[in-house]
């Protein structure tokens, strides 16, 4: 739609009085502003402009970490300690349950839990993405994607903390697991983070509109921890329907596997990469569609 004729004549060049320029040392702005452009933003524009502001999403993510651990002496490492205690206790029990050597089971459990904690925390926090941040986008134009990037970034920082447990456990029990294949964890993490962006935007919008969805997400994530091979070794499940259901067709298994396998010194199966990439493509497409359609409703729903 073109500007109406009336509107156009109203803005055509009758020069107004030139206001005094700022003398306060702000950066000089160009004297002539670009022609009037629509204020609304497309979903793609939002995603792109948001991504180009790492200063903003980096800071938002970092502040949240700081906030969480404020006024504690050892700060984020409380989490690390609880993960360490968890791994040692549950690991000892699990090693007995599944008749495995501690040097084999503990690294498996540790690396699995590392990834799982990142996935579950991201999913849970996604539900609050827009609900908890209304104060950030009620001021003016806002790139909602910065919230998603900051969420992914923050959970990446948390994972780096947890990595300490992995280094200690593997360093003591099975140093031979660290090999060149371990580097494959990096692309694996990158894939998970790409998935994190679409999940957080999609869940964020959904939970903003329907506030009770959050409980559902929490329960689903909790139950899936037991259905996904994190505690139990995948090869303990006999071939059959259950195996294909909980392993081959379990997206969370593949998501865990693209990072866990490298941490255990193995290359992930091609199947896992295909699955995670496929999820990223389909998920991003769905989330992009939803973001295009509902982006402008976010402010109204909040």
């Amino acid at each position: 739609m073109a500007p109406t004729a009336a509107a156009q004549t109203l803005v055509s060049p009758i020069p107004g009085p030139e206001p005094a320029r700022s003398v306060t040392g702000m950066l000089d702005r160009p004297m002539s502003d670009p022609p009037a452009a629509p204020l609304s933003k497309s979903a793609a524009r939002d995603l792109w402009d948001g991504l180009r502001r790492p200063d903003l999403w980096g800071r938002l993510g970092w502040l949240e970490i700081k906030r969480r651990y404020r006024r504690t002496t050892i700060g984020p490492f409380w989490n690390v300690i609880s993960l360490a205690v968890f791994v040692v206790t549950v690991g000892t029990v699990g090693a007995g349950l599944w008749n495995q050597a501690a040097s084999q089971y503990l690294p498996y459990l540790t690396s699995g839990m590392l990834v799982w904690m990142m996935i579950s925390a991201s999913a849970n926090e996604s539900c609050m993405l827009f609900v908890a941040n209304t104060h950030l986008y009620r001021n003016g134009r806002f790139d909602f994607s910065t919230l998603a990037y900051s969420l992914v970034w923050r959970n990446f920082i948390v994972l780096l903390h947890h990595l300490v447990v992995y280094v200690v456990v593997v360093g003591i029990l099975a140093p031979h697991l660290i090999s060149p294949a371990t580097l494959l964890a990096i692309p694996g993490l990158a894939l998970l983070m790409i998935n994190g962006v679409w999940v957080s935007l999609l869940l964020g919008m959904f939970c903003l509109r329907f506030r009770d969805v959050q409980q559902l997400v929490v329960s689903v994530i909790q139950i899936s921890l037991f259905m996904t091979p994190v505690f139990w070794p995948a090869d303990q499940l006999a071939a059959g329907t259950a195996r294909s259901l909980f392993i081959h067709f379990n997206p969370l298994y593949h998501a865990v596997q693209v990072v866990r396998a490298p941490l255990l010194g193995e290359a992930p199966a091609a199947e896992s990469y295909v699955a995670v990439i496929l999820i990223a493509v389909i998920g991003s497409a769905v989330a992009f569609w939803a973001f295009t359609r509902f982006r402008k409703r976010v402010a109204y729903w909040s």
């Binding site: 739609m1 500007p3 109406t4 009336a6 509107a7 109203l10 803005v11 060049p13 009758i14 020069p15 107004g16 009085p17 206001p19 005094a20 320029r21 700022s22 306060t24 040392g25 702000m26 950066l27 702005r29 002539s32 502003d33 670009p34 022609p35 009037a36 452009a37 629509p38 204020l39 609304s40 502001r53 200063d55 903003l56 800071r59 938002l60 502040l63 700081k66 906030r67 404020r70 006024r71 104060h135 950030l136 986008y137 009620r138 001021n139 003016g140 134009r141 806002f142 402008k296 402010a299 109204y300 729903w301």
Partner: protein, 256 residues
């Protein structure tokens, strides 16, 4: 060329899960936006906050928004700021839009004043370099001194206001959107705040001010717009619009 153009802007706020009786009560309300049902079943209720607003502002325009509580003044400001995208219609703008709805967005009371300046500055769309440049000015104006390095939690509300005000008014506004009631604090600060706000307004190229104060509107605005039930009743010279506004108030008062 700074400009702000609204074309047939409609804004509706959806209301979810309303009780039937509450809905009825809403329909009979005297002021505020018009409440409408969408869809055949009438299951979705929406408050029509803005109804077909069209206006165009250009360089040098100073527009005052007048109207009752709930007439749509604040909503209109927020739509102009880009918080809400119109349900129908569109808004065109050229120039940087500055709004002062929330003086310190992203405020974290555990962070120091300096840290909050950076967070809020980034959220207001400034870069680190730009923030660095305004910090001396904020230090000077807020007179918070050493406090700026302490957690904001230790500030009095007046000090917090000074910090927010100093930051919000340090920007170089193209299109400035003001909702009334920014400023105040203790007497000494109030005077300096008025001066500073005046300078902010002078630097802006377009001003839109929502206010219930005739004096403020007469002082700062060259045009005024009267809103009623989300509709633009009149737009024109300040005196004429204020006269209409008061005449309508009078008529309503006698009717009631």
């Amino acid at each position: 060329m700074t400009a702000l153009i609204l074309e047939d802007v409609h804004v509706e706020f959806p209301i979810y899960a309303t009780q039937r009786s509450f809905r009825k009560a809403l329909f009979e309300r005297a002021t505020g936006g018009r409440i409408e049902r969408n869809g055949g079943a009438g299951r979705r209720v929406a408050v029509k906050a803005l109804n077909g607003i069209s206006l165009a502002l250009q360089d040098g325009d100073r527009l005052g928004l007048v109207g009752h509580n709930g007439a749509g003044k604040s909503t209109l400001l927020r739509v102009m700021a880009g918080v809400y995208e119109p349900v129908i219609g569109r808004i065109l703008a050229s120039g940087k839009i500055t709004s002062c709805f929330d003086l310190l967005p992203g405020l974290d009371i555990e962070d120091s004043g300096y840290e909050n300046i950076v967070t809020a500055g980034l959220l207001l769309g400034m870069s680190h370099a730009e923030i660095e440049q305004v910090i001396p000015e904020i230090e000077e104006f807020s007179e918070l001194g050493e406090y700026l390095s302490l957690p904001v939690r230790t500030y009095s509300s007046g000090m917090l206001l000074r910090l927010g005000f100093a930051l919000a008014t340090s920007v170089d506004p193209g299109i400035l959107l003001l909702d009334e009631g920014i400023g105040a604090g203790d007497a000494r600060f109030a005077d300096r705040a008025t001066l500073r706000l005046q300078s902010l307004v002078d630097r802006s190229r377009i001003l839109v001010l929502a206010s219930h104060s005739d004096a403020l509107i007469r002082q700062w605005c060259t045009k005024a717009a009267l809103l009623e039930n989300g509709q633009l009743v009149e737009i024109g010279p300040v005196d004429e619009v204020l006269a209409t506004y008061h005449a309508r108030n009078q008529a309503e008062a006698t009717r009631a």
